[in-house]
Symmetry: C2
Subunit: 221 residues, 2 copies
């Protein structure tokens, strides 16, 4: 299930994962100032490891830092979410294109199997699908691109930010069955080794999600 369960080897790793989790899940609210000394006492580690963790969070665009002033959690805005989805559309579209070229026959078979198992869940209205299943689908295609830069940008960077928005703005929306059909068509294009179509369908799929979210944001104003 969890593809890349990144495992912590050093203290900084642990601090980084913990901090990221707390920020993404809103335990530490957005726009909060991150005090190095405060966190080091809270986590029972030295300031150096907290510092390194914060630096890594900055590289993920989860916190912003000013020299001699400090770091604070990024503030979420509707515009920021739109920007995020524009980048997603671009990168995941390319991922789908490359996946159609580079995925192995076995990987494609497994992807189809995943979709079939999810098909039952969708019929039975187990909306377990939305969170984990959607992620699983997108991850497989990203990894299937076999492009390490693409993978790194999406998996280590964007996806945590997207999740942060999802959690904190309460976007666990529906769009389940329609999204599922879109997934099916994307896999079909990949199975047919049709890069052009795969990219186009993936871009549309993400654009639809973006529009759906924009509509929700409108309503909540």
């Amino acid at each position: 299930m969890d593809f890349f369960q990144e495992q912590a080897v050093t203290s900084s790793d642990k601090a980084f994962f913990r901090l990221r989790k707390e920020i993404v899940e809103g335990v530490i609210p957005s726009s909060t100032k991150l005090s190095e000394t405060e966190l080091s006492t809270k986590y029972q580690v030295s300031r150096a490891v907290v510092r390194e963790a914060i630096n890594r969070l900055e590289a993920c665009n989860i916190v912003e830092r000013k020299a001699n002033v400090g770091a604070r959690v990024v503030s979420l805005s509707p515009e920021g979410l739109i920007e995020l989805y524009q980048v997603r559309e671009s990168l995941e579209g390319m991922a789908a294109r490359l996946a159609a070229q580079h995925m192995t026959a076995q990987e494609i078979t497994e992807l189809n199997a995943l979709l079939n198992s999810q098909s039952d869940e969708v019929k039975n209205a187990e909306l377990y699908y939305q969170e984990a299943g959607d992620l699983d689908f997108h991850y497989r295609i990203i990894l299937g691109s076999k492009n390490s830069h693409l993978i790194s940008m999406l998996v280590n960077g964007l996806y945590h930010l997207v999740r942060m928005y999802r959690v904190q703005l309460g976007m666990a929306g529906p769009r389940v069955t329609s999204a599922f059909d879109e997934h099916k068509h994307i896999v079909q294009a990949i199975s047919n080794r049709d890069p052009e179509l795969a990219e186009m369908l993936m871009r549309r799929h993400i654009t639809y999600s973006k529009n759906n979210i924009e509509a929700k944001l409108q309503n909540s104003l």
Copy 2:
């Protein structure tokens, strides 16, 4: 000329910029092991600032690091360069699309002016163009997208890697006049506020570059 001349405020900044420069320009060859103690004596700073600099280089994908083992400069490969250009095609294509929507009238005017001034240079065969002028053009469009994630990924990340490849594999190739015409058409699409076409032309432009580079790599084998 230099758009974002990032200015160093802390010692770590200086160490980071210096290290990046030396790596990109090949003074420190690719695949070199980076010893923290060695660099700290060489740069006359503490190990902590070297450490932080190396961490930042890791975030840029310029060095790879293993826990408890150390960091080494990434190794360049033809496949790596291709992957880089695939990501560039994706991101800069989106940048051109967004630039067509979001650039101000003044920015577009300035972009046209830049092209006109370069037009003379191309005619006079001052191939000053290739390096700085090409960069200038692409940077303006990236910044014109007004998408901070896109800008950050390209300016802080990919472009230094691309330059590293260019310098070390000796890719100061021609393709001057034809690339210039492609630039002209892209700007025209942006002037017409045609996002679709701007993206398509930018993607083609980068694909051509990629093909050109691939051909050179073939020859040098």
